[in-house]
Amino acid sequence: GQQVMQIPQYQHVQEGEDFTTYCNSSTTLSNIQWYKQRPGGHPVFLIQLVKSGEVKKQKRLTFQFGEAKKNSSLHITATQTTDVGTYFCMNTGFQKLVFGTGTRLLVSP
């Protein structure tokens, strides 16, 4: 079945350091979406990637879709304490929507 793994599971950085989470699938992804869940909150949509090799930016966040559409990454430049939370990827295009395992980010001031 569909499996989407994310690494690392957890990362603790100092404010100002960069952060990257990777999303890897055992099968080809249709489209990939990224969500952020703040502590105690619900997941909120960040962005969607559709095309092979696509790169999108949102301020300090850079999202990339692999050429083979089997992996994706989210990179945060110069983290801030507001970036704290868990980041999830998800493969779309199906009725059954399965999220990646998530990466929990902790940022110390």
Binding site: Q33, G41, F45, Q48, G93, Q95, L97, F99, G102
Partner: protein, 113 residues
């Protein structure tokens, strides 16, 4: 505009008691509906999804069930709760299939004691 309502926000239930969590969506028709569960500090486990009234797909063969009695209403139930049913339950919806994004309710924190 579309909104999703999920209640209650928190719930403490004894082992063996029944459960009913309700989720309703406003401002859209024929949404795809989802129930997820999240254990503390863990990922999002898909429990059920529904693409139409009365259509339920189960991903987790446990003591939970789901129903969709109306187009924009999704209910999660249990006849007898287990300790392992504790967690954060999230309802979500989206329009049809394809690249549409998911919108989540604010969640129910369930503690089974």
């Amino acid at each position: 505009s579309q909104t999703i309502h999920q209640w209650p926000a928190t719930l403490v239930q004894p082992v063996g008691s029944p459960l009913s969590l309700e989720c309703t969506v406003e401002g859209t028709s024929n949404p795809n509906l989802y129930w997820y569960r999240q254990a503390a500090g863990r990922g999002l486990q898909l429990l059920f999804y529904s693409v139409g009234i009365g259509q339920i797909s189960s991903e987790v063969p446990q003591n939970l069930s789901a129903s969709r009695p109306q187009d924009r209403q999704f209910i999660l139930s249990s006849k007898k709760l287990l300790l392992s049913d504790s967690g954060f339950y999230l309802c979500a919806w989206r329009v049809g299939m394809g690249p549409e994004k998911l919108f989540f309710g604010s969640g129910t924190q369930l503690s089974v004691l």
